[in-house]
């Protein structure tokens, strides 16, 4: 293998490039990124960076003395792939043929239909998004956040800490209910309300009002919430449109085997754009967590270098964290697999607790809220038990 082309210059792309080097690949290594920036860390964009506690230099993912011999092609997007020929076409009209292709194009924030061209309406995915939102929040008084997922809950918390009047609109019964289950989501909702976030639940947004600039949000029950800034945190879609006609099998992401190999030899996919086969659940699915990209970069590199003969270790259960206010939320596993959830330490009303989700007697997920030390012990137990992937 003489040339490997990594398409995507964020966490998954950088770490796969680095893993290729550490696994002995010495050939040409080209990394393509549609953003003009060197790889940066996205989780702080909704937290410390938005708050102004850290700057852009702090977001860099590369160390000072790092030299993995990468040829960077930044500010150009990949527009087409011929998977069989492993030729990548770029937005500047050039193309690049490679012996191996790593697809790490991530996902894009879903936008609210009908808000195109309306100032004051934001999504948050990239550094440029975060700069724009930070600037807009600086002069705003009232923020409405649409969607109570991670981005929505974190932006709501950060804006509240910045002193804004914040309303979070969630169409379900509580923020994060889809991932941590309703009982525990209620406890997290309480933390937000105690810290001054107004929660509106069980309603849909029908319209963002305003002519040139958003001035509010209309809800399905007829309520109008005035707003100076609106943030839509309504999920992300995998960046795979450029792969139509490539010859690769696509679904909700690039369909891959359990080692990250795509449907055509010499092509692997990793990160938010990749739907790996989950042998435990017998289906493909995407893992949109930071730690998932980190673990799978190493596996994908081995798959590419071995021509698909490397046998991956069983995937570790998904681990993620979320910082909201002074609260460190940590979660591992799958709440949906559980029939019971019990608080085993602390008290949800006190803002510090640990809950264990079980299927029968078997722990399948753990939630820690300001319980870092104890959570680590549980995480270790779940990660070393050879039970559930994904």
């Amino acid at each position: 293998m003489n040339t490997v082309c990594v398409v995507g210059a964020s966490l998954a792309g950088l770490l796969t490039a680095r893993a290729l080097r550490s696994q002995g690949y010495a050939g040409r290594l080209v990394v393509i990124g549609d953003e003009p920036h060197r790889p940066y860390d996205r989780p702080p964009l909704s937290k410390d960076f938005l708050k102004g506690a850290i700057g852009e230099a702090d977001l860099a993912l590369e160390g000072e003395d790092e030299e993995p011999g990468i040829e960077w092609r930044l500010g150009v997007a990949a527009t087409h792939l011929d998977a069989t020929a492993r030729r990548v076409t770029l937005s500047d009209g050039t193309s690049l043929a490679a012996d191996g292709v790593v697809i790490a194009t991530g996902a894009a924030a879903r936008t609210l239909p009908g808000t195109e061209g309306l100032a004051g309406v934001h999504t948050l995915r990239t550094l440029d998004d975060a700069r724009a939102l930070r600037d807009d929040l600086g002069t705003a008084r009232r923020l409405v956040v649409i969607g109570g997922g991670f981005i929505g809950a974190e932006v709501a918390a950060t804006a509240r800490e910045l002193g804004l009047d914040v309303t979070l609109v969630e169409s379900g019964p509580a923020p994060l209910a889809g991932v941590i289950g309703l009982t525990m989501a209620q406890a997290v909702a309480d933390l937000h309300e105690q810290r001054g976030v107004r929660l509106v639940r069980g309603v849909q947004v029908t319209e963002v009002t305003g002519t040139d600039r958003a001035d509010g949000v209309r809800l399905s029950d007829g309520t109008h919430l005035p707003a100076d800034v609106v943030v839509a945190g309504i999920g992300a879609v995998p960046n795979i449109a450029w792969l139509r006609g490539s010859g690769l099998e696509l679904g909700d992401g690039v369909l891959c085997d359990e080692g990250g190999g795509a449907s055509v030899p010499g092509v692997v996919a990793v990160g938010d754009c990749a739907a790996w086969w989950d042998p435990v659940r017998s289906r493909h699915h995407r893992i949109e967590h930071w730690t998932g990209a980190r673990q799978r970069a190493v596996v994908a590199a081995a798959t590419l270098l071995s021509g698909g003969t490397a046998r991956p270790e069983p995937a570790r259960p998904a681990y993620f964290w979320s910082d909201q206010f002074d609260v460190k939320i940590q979660f591992i596993g799958h709440a949906r697999d559980a029939d019971t959830v019990t608080v085993e330490e602390g008290d949800p009303a006190g803002g510090s607790f640990l809950a264990v989700y079980r299927q029968g007697d078997r722990p399948v997920a753990v939630l820690g809220v300001n319980q870092v030390r104890l959570f680590t012990r549980w995480r270790r137990q779940l990660e070393t038990a050879p039970v559930q992937a994904g």
Partner: protein
Amino acid sequence: MIPACPLASLPRGEALRLDVDPPIAVFHTDDGEIFAIDDTCTHQDASLADGWLEGCEVECPLHASRFDLRTGKVDAPPAKRPVRTHEVVVEDDTIYVVPSDAPPNLPPGVTLKGEA
């Protein structure tokens, strides 16, 4: 030299946080070696003594960067800079730490108490 604790009170696989400025974490590995490093992760304010000790490495309890207890080096992001390592002396069944005089690599927003 700072006295940390009696050797017998730090079993293998365990860690101890010393409340000095900045805090120091002392680890007793499963192989019986004792190491001391700065306790605060260089990425964000997290106590490495709360982390996952495996061999001669500790994984940050929040974001999973791993630090080598022997060299202080970090394996992968989000942390980029190494932690300081400190010399450990065991004398008369007591663990002592000789703090490094190198400047610490504290994360953004964390300062020495004396400079706060």
